[in-house]
Amino acid sequence: MSQHTPRYWRRWYFAVLLFLVIQIVAYALFTEYWK
């Protein structure tokens, strides 16, 4: 079993999903900027 707590993993999941949202926003801005 993993030695990490469920809270540790929840933070990881949140970070991965947050990074996805940040990227989509950044790519949308990139698309608009160079249009």
Partner: protein
């Protein structure tokens, strides 16, 4: 290629094979051969996952795709991080707890043997065929560029890796993938940087991006919703999520990578890191294609990037080609002039509108000539009228210095080997564990299992090379093989989702739900109602929905614990 390039390429390839053999030395048990003894740290798991997914065609066609269609292909990966989280929450703990060698093994524990057999059979069929195609796809490119015999090239691309993977097993494959992938990423980064350095004197990265942007190549996000459109924000997030969930959660070529993690945490970290780095990596690879477009707007470019086809057409239709060559020269000159004028206007802060229009007209002119050439090539009997996969390699051969060309061609081999070695290994694991060992009445000793696993690996290697040999005669059927895999993906995911989330559903319910769904999927595909990414969504949702409403009285199997 120069002598230096051949030396760099041969040294890289021999080095990789030697490294693979070195990492695979020592005595193997069935557990170490099939699952690396479940001892790998997350960085190795991560790179195994990434190298398995990224074939040679990924590195060749993605820049070509950005060159022709723009960067919107990156949206295809937007569902991937969400899928990574779902797999970490649900799939990994279950696979880990049940101590499985293959994903399909779990289906027997949860449902019954027939569900396991159907799922593993579909995997073996579709992965076996598609691995053959992924040997053939880079082979045809190499054979076209170097004028090599296609059958010999198939053996080089699909056969040399057997030298190290036959005896080695999962651990050596994973560590070799790590070295391969490092070389690939390093080489691609250098190729990308060199595009910017090759821009005409007074231009910089910003100018190249400006040209690419004005040409519609930096369309990373597209929000026009259309069920038949392959790549937009919605199909990327929703369709991409189901595709990634199916591929990473239920395809043994991926499950076989992350079950090698030292513990549940290492497997999870490998997948989560993949969720973090995959999209930026694809963005960078696509950006290379967009920058190449800018470069070839500023310096002369060929009408068609597969030079062998150009040579053939020139021989067969010299008069038409002479006329086209003259018109291409004019079109190329006006495109470079319009591009230079456009960036000059940008640099001087002048009103860009008239220059944008002039640039658009010049682009339309060269696009029309490129189309005209494809029609001419098809009329001359050329089967290759798509040069997308040749764009990056054309640049590599014509612009990179000696040594780098050889390294980039070695990358084509390394990227192929990275994904093909994992495919051979997963096919062998599944055919051994899900079929062969089930049929045998007497249990085998551990050393016999290892010997048998090696034979399975070898046989799958030979079979896939055989498919690649046959592929040269398949022509347009190659696309059919790729479609075949995607027709089953959603249904198999649906079976696993029912297993995980519908505790009350039994084997018979899921079996019939899968059959009904597959009929629906084939019909939807046949009548061309939606683009292929949505088939995964329909397949998975349909299996879950039918299994959920299936009357329990019909399900004579009862329910096993999940």
């Amino acid at each position: 290629m120069s002598v230096a390039d051949w030396i760099v390429m041969a040294t890289t390839l021999v080095g990789i094979i030697a490294y693979g053999v070195y990492r695979g030395r020592g005595k193997q048990s069935a557990d170490s051969y099939l699952r690396a003894g479940r001892q790998l740290p997350w960085p190795v798991v991560l790179i195994g996952i990434m190298a398995t997914q990224a074939s040679a065609i990924t590195f060749l066609s993605a820049p070509g795709q950005a060159f022709t269609d723009g960067m919107r292909f990156v949206q295809y990966y937007f569902g991937l991080p969400i899928a990574m989280v779902v797999i970490c929450v649900t799939f990994i703990p279950i696979f880990r707890r049940q101590n499985v060698y293959t994903a399909y093994e779990y289906l027997e524990n949860r449902f019954d043997r027939k569900t396991r057999l159907v799922a593993s059979f579909l995997f073996l069929l579709s992965r076996g065929l598609s691995t053959g195609i992924s040997i053939y796809a880079p082979s045809i490119i190499l054979s076209s560029i170097f004028d090599w015999n296609i059958y010999l090239t198939n053996v080089l691309v699909g056969g040399l890796l057997i030298i190290y993977m036959y005896g080695s097993g999962a651990k050596a494959i994973a560590y070799t993938q790590t070295l391969q992938f490092s070389i690939i990423l390093g080489s691609m980064a250098i190729a990308g940087i060199m595009i910017v350095t090759k821009l005409p004197g007074h231009l910089d990265l910003g100018d190249a991006l400006y040209i690419a942007g004005q040409s519609g190549k930096l369309n990373v996000i597209t929000t026009d919703f259309n069920l038949k459109d392959k790549y937009n924000l919605f199909s990327g997030i929703i369709g991409g999520f189901f595709l990634a969930l199916s591929y990473f959660g239920t395809d043994q070529s991926q499950v076989g990578r992350y079950i090698t993690g030292k513990d549940e945490g290492e497997s999870r970290l490998g997948l989560l890191m993949n969720g973090l780095v995959k999209i930026p990596m694809q963005f960078a690879i696509l950006l290379i294609g967009a920058l190449l477009f800018a470069l070839y707007s500023l310096v002369p470019s060929p009408m068609f990037f597969n030079q062998r086809v150009v040579t053939d057409v020139r021989e067969q239709a010299p008069l038409e080609m002479a006329s086209m060559d003259r018109r291409w020269q004019t079109a190329n000159d006006s495109l470079t002039a319009a591009s230079t004028a456009l960036v000059d206007a940008r640099q001087q802060g002048a009103d860009a509108a008239p220059f944008v229009q002039r640039h658009a007209n010049a682009r339309a002119q060269s696009d029309a000539l490129r189309k005209e050439f494809k029609v001419l090539a098809a009329a001359q009997g050329s089967s290759e009228t798509n040069d997308t996969n040749y764009i990056l390699l054309y640049y590599v051969r014509s612009a990179l210095p000696a040594g780098m060309v050889g390294l980039l061609f070695a990358v084509v081999f390394l990227a192929s080997w990275g994904s093909i070695s994992a495919a051979f290994h997963s096919l062998a694991s599944s055919s051994l564990v899900d079929l062969d060992l089930l049929i045998r009445k007497k249990p085998l000793t551990d050393s016999k299992k290892v010997a048998l696993a090696r034979i399975h690996s070898l046989l799958w290697g030979l079979l896939c090379i055989g498919v690649a040999m046959f592929a040269s005669r398949l022509g347009s059927l190659i696309e059919a093989v790729n479609i075949l895999g995607s027709l089953f993906y959603g249904t198999i995911l649906g079976i696993f989702l029912v297993a995980f989330y519908l505790k009350r559903a039994g084997g018979t319910a899921v079996f019939y739900a899968a059959i009904i769904t597959e009929t629906i999927i084939v019909a939807v595909w046949y009548f061309d109602i939606v683009s292929f990414l949505w088939l995964n969504v329909i397949g998975a949702v349909s299996v879950v929905a039918i299994a959920a409403v299936w009357p329990r009285t019909i399900d004579s199997d009862g329910v096993k614990a999940g």
